[in-house]
């Protein structure tokens, strides 16, 4: 049913969204690597005033096995206020949850009972294949005229090209393939936009066969994974330009464009350089009529005794940082960078996007570090900060520790475990003191019932869910 006034979680501008009230619940995708138990959406209490703060207070099992939940998103967000296709009286209530391995997409209602979300629709893989020609759905973004769903693979798990499927806002049916002219684009991963400039950006990971059984050493050293950004005309759905970061920069993943709609820059994280195992963050930006990208952060590998390393990296005698996720605060001032290999979450002041300044760092887990959480100082942690989500006001940062089933097993062969942590980030304090772990928030181990936690979505929206048409 339509509302009489705009959904209160929609904000016209990022400036307004920063004043949003703190979230009380967080939704976390949790999957069973063995595919013996169903994957689930876990509901976390994130209200510090609550007696169950930091606990899993809700749980919705999916009806099938082996979906491998990964990323997901809201059915509607602040883009509903955009002037050219306004529909502000819809509700932000459904989570659109793709199974990255199964290619099923679940629509889950969080309104009736926010701590026991209910599955209201399931899109079967053949719908995505038949109507859009894609599989392995990944990122979901709410656009003004539909939902954009990126997919890594071609129809029925074929290798490619991957791309974007458009979903109807209300029925959630697959409307079709988004691209009219994809140019040279073949690999897919993330997509987002400069919505007020009619520009869409996509990034590259690899095809299903390149990732589903783990990272393939020869392909990686052969520089065969994705290493480019693609810029598109959002209106005409046409490929405009490829910006190649250089083939040593393997796997350009998460895209975080500036939230300010007057700006045309953004950040992308690169997992690993095959030259020195470093990881990097790049800023893309307008360059005359076209686009360019500049490396703005380099994080070096950390030397380590080969004996303590998993086989996949033992020959190198070093731990790669593996930047697998980044997140930009809604005010575009702070960039959070996950180093899943070394087990570190870094905070950068990106007031000047081309000259980030490190402003705090926290160690948790890591391939050799195994840093413990202060809430359980005797428990060495596996995995590292991976998916990172920032509250709209920019004061709370949530991280989970699993990357992707098959890859978890390669880099943390003795078990990646399951944990989630929260950091308090003080926007007024750029020193290391302004960025600290919350000792009261550490759901881990059995809290996740044998599943591995992946992306977090915050009730009412978060820093990577909404886009804005007004400055």
């Amino acid at each position: 049913m339509a509302l009489w006034k705009p959904d209160p979680t929609f904000y016209a501008s990022p400036r307004d969204a920063v004043s949003a009230p703190p979230e009380k619940l967080a939704y976390v995708a949790a999957f069973d690597r063995a595919a013996e138990k169903p994957d689930a959406i876990a509901v976390l209490d994130v209200d510090p005033g609550s007696s169950s703060y930091g606990d899993v207070v809700g749980w919705t099992d999916l009806p099938y096995l082996g979906d491998e939940l990964h990323h997901f998103g809201w059915n509607a967000c602040s883009s509903a206020l955009c002037p050219y296709a306004p529909h502000p009286h819809v509700e932000r209530r459904y989570l659109i949850v793709p199974g990255l391995r199964s290619s099923r997409v679940y629509v889950i209602d969080t309104k009736e009972n926010p701590t026991a979300p209910e599955i209201v629709k399931i899109l079967e893989p053949d719908e995505l294949a038949k109507r859009a020609g894609y599989s392995r759905p990944h990122t979901v973004h709410c656009g003004p005229e539909g939902l954009y769903l990126t997919a890594l693979g071609g129809a029925n798990g074929e290798d490619g090209p991957g791309g974007i499927a458009l979903l109807d806002h209300t029925s959630f049916d697959v409307l079709g393939r988004w691209e009219v002219d994809r140019g040279p684009q073949y690999f897919a991963y993330d997509a987002w936009w400069h919505i007020a400039h009619d520009v869409l950006v996509t990034s590259e990971w690899g095809t299903p066969s390149m990732i589903e059984d783990g990272v393939v050493g020869e392909l990686l050293l052969g520089r065969k994974y994705g290493h480019a950004l693609h810029f598109w005309d959002l209106r005409k759905r046409r490929h405009v330009q490829t910006v190649d970061l250089g083939d040593e920069h393997q796997m350009a993943l998460e895209l975080r464009p500036a939230h300010d709609p007057t700006k045309q820059y953004g950040f992308v994280g690169v997992v690993v350089s095959v030259e020195d195992l470093s990881a990097s963050v790049w800023a893309w930006h307008r360059d005359g009529d076209g686009w360019a990208a500049k490396k703005v952060i380099t994080i070096p590998a950390e030397p380590a005794d080969a004996a303590g390393l998993p086989p996949v990296i033992a020959p190198f005698g070093a731990v790669p940082p593996l930047v697998t996720d980044i997140d930009l605060s809604v005010d575009d001032r702070w960039l959070y960078v996950s180093c899943w290999g070394t087990g570190e979450l870094k905070r950068y002041d990106v007031s000047d996007p081309f000259n980030p300044v490190e402003a705090g760092s926290v160690r948790l887990g890591g391939i050799t570090g195994r840093a413990a959480h202060p809430a359980a100082p005797d428990l060495p942690l596996s995995g590292g900060p991976q998916m990172v989500e920032v509250s709209r006001d920019g004061r709370r940062v949530y991280v989970t520790n699993s990357l992707y089933g098959a890859w978890d097993d390669q880099f943390y062969p003795d078990g990646v475990g399951a944990w989630m942590a929260k950091l308090d980030s003080d926007p007024g304090d750029a020193s290391a003191n302004g960025f600290k772990l919350d000792e009261r928030f550490f759901p881990h181990g059995e809290a996740f019932r044998g599943r591995r936690p992946h992306q977090t979505r915050l009730q009412g929206g978060d820093a990577s869910s909404d886009s804005y048409c007004y400055p």
């Binding site: 339509a2 509302l3 009489w4 006034k5 705009p6 209160p8 929609f10 904000y11 016209a12 501008s13 307004d16 206020l81 955009c82 002037p83 050219y84 296709a85 306004p86 529909h87 502000p88 009286h89 819809v90 656009g143 003004p144 005229e145 539909g146 806002h169 209300t170 919505i195 007020a196 400039h197 009619d198 959002l234 209106r235 709609p261 007057t262 048409c469 007004y470 400055p471």
Partner: protein, 211 residues
């Protein structure tokens, strides 16, 4: 045209101008993007032109039909159509789909035309169009009657659009200069539902008046 119909035309124009979805919001967005009030002002005539084209098409069509079909038949037929369209607007969950912020003024006028048309902006004027003035007499078919019907259509469109343009302009400038877009969260009522009710109401009035 009676004073009452004229007032109704102006009121409907104001109602259309007030609706953020009909264009003032787009004008504000274009201005905010470049921090330029003149961009807000430039957008408004294009939006009004698109609206006028959409309303004018209906007005002229109705006026021309009136010159060949009995007014009562037209009113009943049109009124029923209007109620049906209003019900569809009320029950349908689909919203206008369009992509693109960076468009030319010509494209903006086209956008406004489509937006007004799918919302049935012109249809809402049906009671005024079917009740205003005297229907051409039976012997008066032909060029003369068509000519006067056309001028009625043009007049109705002009009055309505002027009211729409004035209200949209005032709101756009007030929001751009003073209120800010945070006002949307409080004040953007679901005009689509009110709009659908107005369509159904207009259709009902048209039919009842004709009977």
């Amino acid at each position: 045209m009676t004073d009452g119909s004229l007032a109704a035309l102006v009121a409907l124009g104001a109602f259309h101008g007030l609706n953020p979805a009909m264009g003032w919001l787009f004008a504000v967005a274009r201005g905010l993007q470049e921090r330029s009030r003149s961009l807000v002002l430039q957008a408004l005539p294009a939006i009004a032109a698109g609206h006028a084209a959409s309303v004018g098409a209906v007005a002229v069509l109705v006026a021309l039909t009136r010159s060949v079909v009995a007014t009562q038949t037209l009113a009943i037929g049109g009124g029923v159509l209007l109620v049906g369209f209003g019900l569809w607007r009320l029950l349908s969950q689909r919203h206008f789909r369009w992509v693109g912020m960076r468009i030319s003024l010509w494209q903006l006028a086209g956008w406004s035309f489509l937006m007004s048309s799918v919302h049935g902006a012109g249809l809402m004027l049906l009671p005024v169009l079917t009740s205003s003035g005297t229907a051409p007499a039976g012997h008066d078919h032909g060029l003369h009657a068509s000519g006067s019907a056309l001028s009625t259509g043009v007049f109705v469109t002009a009055v309505h659009t002027l009211a729409m343009f004035t209200v949209a302009g005032v709101v756009a400038v007030a929001v751009y200069e003073i209120l800010g877009l945070a006002v949307l969260r409080r004040a953007w009522f679901n005009l689509d539902r009110l709009w659908a009710a107005a369509l159904i109401g207009a259709g009902t009035i048209t039919v009842l008046t004709a009977l």
